[in-house]
């Protein structure tokens, strides 16, 4: 995996299991309706009190109390065992497919859901050559293939771009060259100094332009010839049978029979069809197995013995060429593969999430609904700079700083929930978020921040103001204010997370998965009051904004959503002498416990990311 630390967010597509479909079987599936209605609807077992405005949004009914302070800390051990299956397990093979960094996620405004690369549909906007950056019309792509037809060629040896230089080019006597270099020309790789003169026979070009046309005349690989032969053969066959291949259904059945008949055995075609008096229609296949001619193989072996292994191609070089050459001198320049610009649609509601500008060289987007602008992002830092990400000490309490940044224009209140013990492993680490509930300010103008910088730190939910800590952490750890937020600025808030990894045997060699990899699942629940335009409601709503341009009645409503994310904290190292297990006496007995039960509730399972309570 990537370097530590990393934070990946679980796309809700992970939770769209087939069983949600069976639960919802009472409702007929109608293709005209938005599939999201179906996919994310609440099971009938849950209390059905649909909101007035957005019927597709089910009410959020948590099956467990999220109030961290109400939880009794003493019986948490039992609870942990009981509710293990509710927790998101980052080691689950299935979850690996849905974990993405927030940068890679999109957000569908109509489904109010995170969309990962797996749940979007790509549509090609345009094709272009990544080297000359010219757009290639899709008709040309269809006729000439997906490679650049201009002058862009790659070195077959090292894949760098080839340049055109005159054969008699010499850097030693620059004064001798005339104004206009004259041919013949070579294709030259300025990275590995391969030229087309190295080929046997060498390829030399007449002109420095229109290379594709010149090369296609010069290089006739046996595979190209084979393809032309096949094409000719089938075109001829098709030509012979042209009158039979009309658009009538009879012709179609005949065509089908033709191929099914071929599949059975060669002897069968004497029978059935003859009796109908139809002209015998048969497609002769060019079905020749690849022949291995012994003399030719011996020739190759002799050539290898003579030239040595250095003259042979490696697998990558060989497979990138259609004729699979064995010797470097048989490699031909490869044309650059085209690249595409693509727009992306939500698979559930078919709305466009990303639409780039069609011009090749611009990087702007017409539509760009990225999750970064919709859901709060988490970052993790170490509080103690001596912590080595790749070598966490067992039994030692590691303190990290978890920062939640708010991209929205409304202040949000965040609850972070994590299982007390990391799930999915026999070697569970103890995890505690010291202040699991807090506020994050709105993403206001930077100037507001500058003007408000003199204001004292905002009041936390527990009612204690915490000034940013400047002193050493050693003194801070004794501070009873530990249960409050660590730092609070304009649109981000930082809290402390404590991790105590156990002793874990090194399993990298013996097992497939790395037991020492420490990943913490965190359930993020966000609640805020958004301004919603009345006009907006029917259309399925949009992102809450302060624009107010529509002039509709602006009212505030409570919105909440939640998602799982996985924090890759690091790898646990070998045990260190002197640091021993201190199970009953946690170094800092946390005043506010982290709720044990971070639920994989219906909220995360089947409802949209964002919900509205009236």
């Amino acid at each position: 995996m990537s370097s530590f630390p990393y934070i990946h967010i679980s796309c809700p597509c992970n939770e769209d299991r087939p069983q949600t479909l069976t639960i919802d079987s009472a409702r007929p599936i109608s293709p005209s309706k938005s599939p999201s209605k179906h996919d994310f609807s609440f099971p009938p077992a849950a209390p059905q009190t649909p909101t007035k405005r957005r019927t597709l949004l089910a009410p959020f009914t948590p099956s467990v109390s999220f109030d961290a302070t109400n939880l009794d800390l003493d019986d948490d051990e039992e609870l942990t065992d009981e509710d293990e299956e509710n927790n998101f397990d980052p080691r689950d093979p299935r979850s690996a497919f849905s974990l993405f960094p927030i940068e890679n996620l999109l957000y569908c405004e109509d489904c109010h859901q995170i969309r990962c690369p797996r749940c979007v549909q790509d549509e090609i906007v345009c094709w272009y050559c990544p080297s000359c950056l010219f757009e290639v019309p899709s008709s040309t792509v269809k006729s000439d293939g997906n490679r650049c037809t201009r002058n862009c060629y790659l070195c077959p040896v090292c894949t760098a771009l080839l340049a055109v230089i005159p054969v008699n080019h010499s850097t030693l006597n620059p004064g001798s060259t005339s104004d206009h270099p004259t041919g013949p020309f070579n294709l030259f790789c300025s990275h590995c100094h391969w030229t087309t003169s190295d080929l046997s026979p060498p390829i030399q070009l007449e002109k420095p332009t229109s290379i594709s046309a010149q090369l296609s005349k010069l290089t006739h690989s046996p595979q190209d010839n084979e393809f032309t032969r096949l094409k000719q053969h089938y075109a001829q066959q098709l030509g012979n049978a042209q009158e039979d291949f009309t658009n009538s259904p009879a012709a179609l059945t005949r065509l089908m029979g033709l191929y099914t008949g071929l599949g059975s055995s060669s002897g069968s075609h004497g029978g059935g069809r003859k009796g109908r008096g139809v002209k015998k229609l048969e497609m002769k296949e060019v079905d020749r197995p690849r022949e291995v001619i012994e003399e030719r193989e011996m020739e190759i072996v002799e050539r290898m013995a003579k030239a040595g292994l250095n003259a042979t191609t490696n697998a990558k070089q060989r497979l990138s060429q259609p004729h699979e050459p064995r010797f470097i001198s048989d490699l031909t320049p490869t044309a650059v593969l085209l690249r595409t610009k693509r727009s992306k649609r939500c698979r559930a509601c078919r709305h466009i999430l990303v639409k780039p500008e069609s011009k090749v060289q611009t990087t702007r987007f017409r539509i760009r609904l990225v999750a970064l602008n919709y859901i709060p992002s988490l970052t993790i830092k170490r509080l103690d700079s001596t912590i080595a990400w790749n070598n966490l000490t067992p039994h030692k309490t590691h303190r990290f700083l978890l920062t939640v940044t708010n991209p929205l224009f409304d202040p949000i209140s965040v609850s972070l929930l994590t299982p007390r013990r990391t799930p999915g492993t026999a070697f569970a680490s103890r995890v505690t978020i010291l202040c699991p509930e807090f506020e994050v300010g709105a993403n206001t103008d930077v100037w507001d921040d500058a003007l408000m910088s003199t204001k004292p730190a905002a009041v936390t939910p527990s009612g204690v103001a915490t000034p940013p800590v400047a002193g050493s952490f050693a003194s801070f750890s004794k501070d009873p204010k530990m249960s409050t937020v660590y730092e609070q600025k304009r649109n981000y808030t930082s809290v402390v997370i404590e991790v105590v990894p156990p002793e874990i045997p090194d399993t990298r060699d013996t097992r497939i998965r790395d037991e020492r990899l420490l990943e913490i699942p965190i359930y993020v629940r966000v609640e805020f009051e958004a301004e919603v335009d009345r006009d907006d409601e029917e259309g399925g709503g949009g992102r809450p904004s302060h624009s107010g341009a529509s002039g509709g009645a602006v009212q505030r409503e409570k919105v909440e959503y939640s998602y799982w994310c996985v924090v890759g904290v690091g790898r646990v190292g070998d045990p260190v002498e002197g640091v021993v297990a201190s199970e009953p006496n946690t170094p800092v007995r946390t005043p506010v416990g982290t709720p044990v039960k971070a639920p994989r509730t219906p909220a995360a399972m089947r409802t949209p990311l964002r919900q509205v309570r009236s």
Binding site: A160, P174, R339, T363
Partner: protein
């Protein structure tokens, strides 16, 4: 980060390390808020040769805003012999360009939001478009073109991954400037 005297701050907010080596500073344009760390070398003296009597092209290296040149990197304008005349050609860097430690850059054009890792070599006359990440230790062949939203790796560098739509935000360097 370090003692205050390490950087000289210009009027436009550029912070240039006293330990960096900047040659031909009259031919170098810094867009502002660019950080040049210690042991960097910028060869502004290698500028285009023009026939006598004409005014020489003034700019050898143009750098945009919020660029970050890490320790020990080298910016050198590309050179070639064209029609029997050896000459250097100007180099242009866009905004938010990060150059990692010990990298050598001889590109013709580097766009905006480009992150070049440690110990890379950006070959002569290469063109790097906007929103590109070049991983540590990559060698980009001379004259190559790297299209937008690419992650490049290897020797010679080839595009290994497409960057997401958020690449510009990911590669922005405003916060990095503030931290110095």
């Amino acid at each position: 980060m370090s003692q205050k005297s390490e950087y000289i701050q210009t009027e436009t907010g550029n912070k240039v390390s006293r330990k960096s080596l900047i040659i031909g500073s009259q031919n170098i344009i810094l867009g502002g808020k660019t950080i040049i760390q210690a042991d960097c070398c910028i060869r502004g003296d290698l500028r285009r040769l023009v026939p006598q009597g004409q005014n020489a092209a003034a700019v050898a290296i143009a750098v945009g805003r919020y660029c970050f040149l890490s320790k020990g990197c080298l910016l050198r304008p590309p050179s070639k012999t064209y029609r029997g005349q050896f000459s250097y050609y100007p180099m242009k860097l866009g905004d938010h360009v990060f150059v990692g430690e010990g990298s050598v850059v001889e590109a013709a054009v580097i766009g905006s939001y480009v992150n070049i890792g440690k110990n890379c070599v950006i070959g002569k006359f290469s063109i790097i478009k906007d929103c590109v990440r070049i991983e540590d230790g990559t060698v980009i062949a001379p004259n190559s073109v790297i299209p937008s939203f690419s992650s490049v790796e290897g020797y010679p560098g080839i595009v290994v991954e497409e960057l997401p739509e958020t690449a510009a935000e990911m590669l922005e360097l405003k916060e990095l400037y503030k931290s110095i």
